[in-house]
C-alpha cells in the first residue's frame, strides 16, 4: 500500500514535470523540469529496490548530463534564456498531439490485451520480490566473465565513452 502511494506521488511528479518540460517556452526551465523527471525516475528505481541503479541514475544523469545541458544552454542561447525566441506552430502542435495520442492508445491497448503478460503477472502475484539486490552480487556480475556476467559490455562501454569524449572534443574544437 505504501509502495502504491509512493508510486502515485512519483508518477504525478514525473508526468507533470515531463509535460511542463515539453511545453515551456524557455529552454532553461525545460532543463530544470528534465532534472525533476530524472529524480522521479531515480525514485522509481529506489521503489523497485534497485538502489544501485537509482544512485547511478542520480549521479550520471542529474550530476553529469544535466550539467552538460546547463552549460550548453548558457553557451548557446542567450536570447532564448531572456525571452521567448522559439515559436510553436499550431499545426505542428496539433499534429504532434495526434501522433502521440494515437501511438499511446496503440501501445497501451497492445499491452493491456497481451496474454503473455497477463499470465505472467498472475504468476508473479505470489512471488512479491521485495528485496534489494546485494551490491556484492552486482559487482561480481558486472566484472565477471562467465555466463550472465558482463565484463565485455563493461569494457566496451568504457571504450565507447572514451571514443565519445574524443569525438566531442574533435567536433567542438575551434578551427584554426
Amino acid at each position: 500500500m505504501a509502495n502504491l502511494v509512493m508510486f502515485c506521488i512519483l508518477a504525478v511528479v514525473i508526468l507533470g514535470s515531463a509535460v511542463m518540460c515539453v511545453t515551456t517556452k524557455r529552454i532553461m526551465r525545460a532543463a530544470t523540469f528534465m532534472l525533476f523527471v530524472l529524480f522521479g525516475v531515480a525514485g522509481l528505481y529506489f521503489l523497485l529496490d534497485y538502489t544501485f541503479l537509482g544512485a547511478a541514475q542520480i549521479s550520471v544523469y542529474a550530476g553529469g548530463v544535466t550539467m552538460i545541458y546547463v552549460f550548453a544552454i548558457q553557451l548557446v542561447s542567450k536570447r532564448t534564456l531572456q525571452g521567448m525566441v522559439e515559436r510553436l506552430k499550431g499545426s505542428r502542435v496539433v499534429m504532434g498531439a495526434l501522433l502521440s495520442v494515437v501511438g499511446l492508445a496503440t501501445v497501451v491497448l497492445v499491452f493491456l490485451k497481451n496474454d503473455m503478460l497477463r499470465s505472467m503477472s498472475r504468476y508473479i502475484g505470489a512471488v512479491t520480490p521485495d528485496q534489494e539486490v546485494p551490491m556484492r552480487e552486482i559487482g561480481h556480475a558486472l566484472v565477471g566473465a562467465g555466463k550472465y556476467q558482463y565484463v565485455l559490455p563493461f569494457e566496451f562501454i568504457s571504450l565507447f565513452l572514451l571514443a565519445c569524449i574524443i569525438g566531442a572534443l574533435v567536433v567542438s574544437r575551434k578551427e584554426d
Binding site: 515539453v22 541514475q57 552538460i68 532564448t80 503477472s121 521485495d130 552480487e137 567542438s172
Partner: protein, 102 residues
C-alpha cells in the same frame, strides 16, 4: 506491491510526451531533452520488467545501467554538435541547418 501495468502505463505516457516534444519543438537543445525523456521511459520499462517478471536475474538492470552510460555519451556528442552548429550559423534552431536536409 505496485502492479506491473502501472509502470508500463507510466513509461508509455512518458515516452509519448517525449515524442510530442520531439515533434513540436524546433530548438535543438529542447529536442535533445525530449530524447532524454524517451530514453528514461525505456529505462523504466527495462527495470520494471526485470523486477516484476524475472526477479532472480539482473539482465534488465544491467541493460538500464549501460543505457544510462550510452545516453550520457550520446548527449555529450550531441551537445558538441549543437555548439558547433551555433558557432557556424549563430542560431540554435533546426531551421538553420538546411544544407543536409536533401
Amino acid at each position: 506491491m505496485v502492479p506491473v501495468e502501472f509502470y508500463f502505463i507510466l513509461s508509455a505516457l512518458l515516452f509519448f510526451i517525449g515524442v510530442f516534444g520531439f515533434v513540436t519543438r524546433r530548438n535543438l537543445i529542447a529536442m535533445l531533452i525530449s530524447i532524454e525523456l524517451v530514453l528514461n521511459a525505456v529505462d523504466i520499462n527495462f527495470a520494471a520488467f526485470n523486477r516484476m517478471l524475472y526477479p532472480d536475474s539482473m539482465e534488465g538492470m544491467f541493460m538500464t545501467l549501460f543505457s544510462i552510460g550510452v545516453s550520457a555519451a550520446e548527449s555529450a556528442v550531441a551537445i558538441a554538435i549543437i555548439i558547433n552548429v551555433y558557432r557556424r550559423f549563430k542560431s540554435d534552431s533546426v531551421e538553420s541547418i538546411k544544407n543536409m536536409k536533401w
